[in-house]
Symmetry: C2
Subunit: 187 residues, 2 copies
């Protein structure tokens, strides 16, 4: 299959953009999938900044990185991604957001529109030209609808002279399939 | 830039899918851009069926193909794409729709939702597994809004067990940027 799902689309975009030695961000460490993915792409010379507000997410991610022997190139930060500018003051090549709650975790601790948007805003400033932000938006069941609507209102108004905002949506699937957003800095 | 526009997205999808020797369809010959693109991809052993209801489109396309020395692998058909099943009775790898009116042509002769949907329906049946239909939808100015709404109503209801329907939309651009749709036959 060409496109399995929105997570696959976000990975495909990141693979096209991120090269060895790049500085990148995982805005939502979760269980470490994307942090590990990014750590492999940037190689020994690169850096991955990886954020999560939940200690269990930081610990799970650390474990996965150590097992894969790539922990040396990752800065794990136990703080909300809306504080990204406290930790990074140089341009980054890519930022990945994988929203929602920690798999098998507390639904009440899901990402929230207000802080997600604050983080995206700051990441837009950190992004280098030709760099990208990918956002996988989960909604359905008991959560995510409000965050989705807030993010859509926000991304529709991002300056089109500086950024291209492309939304990928599987429109014929049942049960609110995740949506993949790609924001590219064009100048 | 990663993605310039919807036409670029449709071409990127087609390039991933179409190989030498394939049988493919350009549902809207227009001035021959996509027919020429497909003719180059399928090579000597492949076949491109290319439809248009306007004679001027057929003539312009024929001229471009002859100049590029690839006319031998193209069947130009001066008929509406809703009659695709009259001309093709075998599986195809890809179908490209580039909707709207002929560039610099008569806006009144734009594609229409009813016939476009009839054609998509028939092409879904002709498609081989892992094959794709790409549709670039133009709307804005004096036309295209009704066709866009009709197509969206239709594609949302395509059987998700058999087909994945992915919509690509640039959400922060002014003036109704074209939308790229990719329908993949998954089984």
């Amino acid at each position: 299959m060409l496109y399995k799902n929105s997570l696959g689309i976000s990975h495909e975009i990141i693979k096209k953009i991120v090269k060895e030695g790049d500085i990148v961000v995982d805005a939502t460490a979760g269980n470490g999938n994307d942090t590990l993915f990014l750590a492999c792409l940037v190689g020994n010379a690169g850096v991955v900044y990886s954020f999560d507000i939940q200690e269990v997410a930081i610990l799970n991610t650390k474990k996965r990185l150590e097992e894969a022997k790539v922990y040396d190139r990752v800065k794990l930060i136990h703080d909300g991604h809306e504080n990204v500018d406290k930790y990074i003051n140089k341009n980054v090549k890519a930022v990945m957001f994988n929203l929602g709650y920690l798999p098998k975790g507390d639904h009440g601790k899901a990402t929230k529109g207000k802080t997600t948007i604050k983080s995206i805003e700051k990441c837009l400033e950190l992004l280098q030209v030709d760099g990208v932000i990918t956002i996988v938006i989960y909604y359905g069941g008991d959560s995510g609808f409000e965050e989705k609507d807030e993010i859509f209102s926000y991304i529709k108004n991002i300056d089109s002279k500086k950024y291209a905002v492309l939304v990928h949506e599987f429109v014929n699937q049942m049960n609110c399939p995740p949506i993949a957003v790609c924001i590219e800095k064009i100048c």
